[in-house]
């Protein structure tokens, strides 16, 4: 038999895994995963982001992918959409850069300036 407390734990734990099916309000991380992105190493980046999100129980963060963003030379590209904030585009992302993006930008709201597209040119 489950107690009310256990039920609440199940609720929270399961919601973390399935609430991407509801209208979202939280942060969205988009990884460019067209052929160009994959060739440049986008899959390890995607997996790192997912792992880190999972590890930190970030239940209102959705990790999704998109096709070619149009700047193939800068792949892998990661875009971060936080509610009510401008989109931030990171370029030439590696797994270790992805770790910092999750930890600093997504979790603490501090944009990792040196990886953004603006610092590239």
């Amino acid at each position: 038999m489950k107690s009310i407390k256990e039920l609440e734990e199940i609720r929270k734990r399961t919601l973390d895994t399935i609430n991407i099916r509801k209208e979202r309000t939280g942060t969205r991380v988009v990884v460019g995963m067209a052929t160009c992105g994959i060739a440049a190493g986008a899959r390890p980046v995607l997996l790192t982001v997912m792992d880190e999100v999972k590890k930190n129980n970030l239940s209102d963060v959705a990790v999704t992918q998109t096709g070619c963003i149009g700047m193939c030379r800068l792949e892998p590209i990661v875009e971060v959409y936080r509610p009510n904030e401008e989109k931030v585009t990171y370029v030439k992302v590696t797994p270790s850069k992805a770790l910092r993006i999750v930890n600093e930008h997504i979790m603490q709201g501090k944009v990792v300036d040196e990886y953004t597209i603006g610092s590239e040119d």
């Binding site: 991407i20 994959i38 999704t64």
Partner: protein
């Protein structure tokens, strides 16, 4: 549970399932594995999404991409493009969601825009065979609140204040029903759920049971607490195997979690339930017949009073509610009765699920706030009539209801407005008819159904409906006479007044309602011996158009009763007296020289 970045929701409601959605699910699982994505993307089998006409349906989150009419061989492309590379496969999306510059979310398309999902809120969103997913979306939170913070009287008060009325057809206030049963003093009481759903063309209750079975378990437990019952039964027709299977799984899971049983959530409250199968007799949906059937007797109604709230199953106080009625209950406790009562019209609160069928583009299930107009349901949500045909009428309430003609399309749907029009809400079947439907034939169809389904216990229903059907047969065969309409009306009123149960009391409604709105069609059949819609074979006449006939003789060769004669190269003639109106000549004529009138 694992965290997945993408969820592939595959409809396994009865409609999509019979269109092969299990193969699609298996292909997804195999393809995901092939591409090493099985730890990133999860495949879930869900209940009905509602848009059955376009099944099998697959929705992929977080994008909420709505794929329609998916074939097993499309799966590889969806996995490779969408799930691996993030490129939505536009060609397979539901066309309505593809706008010029962007892909609309499903909530923006006409079919879903005007819907409000309360009873269907979890259908297509959760895996109904996993209790944790129900719990995640606030499942079993209402029973927790009820058992730990409310008295039975307070529970009944909330249901009363919500204004919820029975969704099984009658529209009786649910809170009042519970109050009656709570006041009956007895050592044993029962809570029943009516999942018999006998109205032809209706499948709301099936979809709720298939898509969200735990909602019914939770609601019945709340009802049991309110009236002081410890045992429940869901009476479900055996023709709903998927619903029965999912409900049974759900009951077992609820028992495992202690949400059914002797000491629910440690509060000391005791309730358990079982499924009972019906053999698909329409009359067994009537409450006293249903009770007899659960008791192991022949499913026949008995006179009321005593009402089941006083003397029901095994002679004990009993409440019976419809599946959809129950599906609203947990939401009322979570969001408050005022929230529920804020939707709908003055006397009909909340939403209603309709099963759209017949001559309508978006065949399927829709849930709309009470007070939505018929026009909005049929033309906006339902997408209108196929092939540019003209709307003629819509039948609500199935064999107990009536039709709504074009001049009343702007009526706001609620219990009282539909009754005022000579129809009724019924359980929610909505069958649309266009200019090609003959209304006499429609009335005949429904009466044929009730004659079949009459249990035979009372004479007005057993004999009366049969006599009415004979007259309708006569009229549609072209043998109608003066006085037939009047005789139909006399019989109808007697049957309505004298029958024992709701089956007989409402059986004449389809005839009376078509007589009100389409009397001219009856008269055309009787006086002019014509079926204006060209449906009734008995009244059809086949002609050869002389100018078009090339005298090839194909029609004469094909005619099974040799009633066509003529000489080669001259126009042929059909002998109407011998013609059996099979239509073969019309079909075979290479020059379209034969017409039916």
């Amino acid at each position: 549970m694992e965290m997945y970045r993408s969820h592939v929701m595959i409809c396994k409601g009865t409609g999509c399932n019979s269109a092969g959605s299990e193969r699609i699910a298996q292909n997804f699982e195999a393809e995901l594995k092939k591409h090493g994505l099985e730890n990133e993307v999860v495949v879930e089998r869900t209940g009905c999404f509602g848009l059955c006409a376009l099944g099998p349906i697959v929705i992929i989150y977080p994008e909420a991409s709505f794929y329609s009419q998916v074939k097993p061989e499309d799966v590889e492309e969806i996995v490779k493009e969408h799930l691996l590379k993030g490129r939505v496969v536009k060609r397979l999306l539901y066309a309505e969601t593809v706008a010029e510059d962007k892909i609309k979310s499903i909530n923006e398309v006409d079919f879903y825009k005007k819907q409000v999902r309360v009873a269907l809120r979890n259908c297509g969103v959760i895996n109904p065979e996993n209790i944790d997913e129900y719990i995640a979306f606030d499942g079993y939170k209402a029973i927790e609140k009820v058992l730990t913070t409310m008295t039975p009287a307070e529970v009944i008060d909330v249901v009363k204040r919500s204004g919820l009325r029975g969704r099984g057809g009658g529209g009786f206030p649910t809170g009042l029903k519970w109050e009656f049963a709570s006041k009956s003093v007895n050592d044993k009481k029962y809570v029943l759920c009516n999942a018999d759903e006998g109205d032809p063309g209706a499948f709301m209750d099936r979809s709720v049971l298939e898509g969200d079975p735990h909602a019914i378990i939770e609601a019945m437990t709340i009802a049991a607490y309110a009236i002081g019952a410890d045992q429940g039964y869901v009476y479900c027709r055996a023709e709903y195997p998927i619903a029965v299977k999912r409900l049974t799984i759900a009951i077992n899971q609820a028992r495992e979690y202690g949400l059914l049983g002797d000491n629910i959530l440690g509060t000391g409250f005791k309730f358990d339930m079982e499924v009972r199968l019906g053999a698909g007799a329409f009359v067994c949906g009537e409450e006293t017949a249903l009770i007899a059937s659960i008791e192991g007797e022949r499913g026949m109604p008995r006179p009321r009073p005593p009402f089941p709230a006083v003397k029901g199953l095994f002679g004990k106080p009993t409440i019976l509610n419809n599946v959809e009625t129950y599906a609203n209950i947990p939401q009322i406790f979570l969001n408050g009765p005022e929230w529920f009562a804020s939707m709908g019209t003055e006397k009909s609160k909340g939403t209603k699920v309709f099963a759209l069928g017949g001559k309508i583009n978006n065949t399927g299930l829709v849930e709309i706030p009470m007070g939505t107009t018929m026009r909005e349901v049929i033309f906006e949500i339902g997408g209108g009539i196929p092939n540019g045909k003209k709307y003629k009428a819509a039948q609500t309430g199935g064999p107990s209801g009536g039709c709504i003609p074009a001049e009343h399309l702007d009526v706001e749907i609620d219990y009282d407005n539909l009754i005022a029009l000579g129809s009724m809400m019924g359980s929610g079947g909505l069958i649309v008819m266009d200019e090609d439907n003959c209304m006499v034939d429609i009335a005949r169809y429904f009466l044929d159904f009730t004659v079949d389904e009459s249990c035979g216990k009372c004479t007005p229903c057993r004999e009366g409906t049969k006599r009415m059907l004979e007259i309708l047969d006569k009229i549609t065969e072209g043998k109608g006479e003066k006085g037939d309409i009047e005789m139909l009306e006399t019989l109808a009123h007697t049957i309505k007044n004298a029958s024992l149960c709701g089956l007989g009391q409402t059986a004449p409604n389809p005839v009376l309602s078509t007589l009100t709105y389409f009397r001219d069609e009856y008269e055309a059949h009787i006086k002019d011996k014509k079926c204006p819609a060209g449906v009734c074979q008995g009244l059809a006449k086949y002609f050869v158009i002389e100018e078009k006939c090339k005298g090839c003789g194909i029609c004469a060769k094909q005619c099974p009763v040799s009633c066509i004669s003529g000489k080669p190269k001259t126009p042929y003639v059909i002998d109407s007296a011998k013609c059996v109106k099979c239509g073969v000549c019309l079909e075979k004529c290479p020059f379209k020289a034969i017409v039916k009138q």
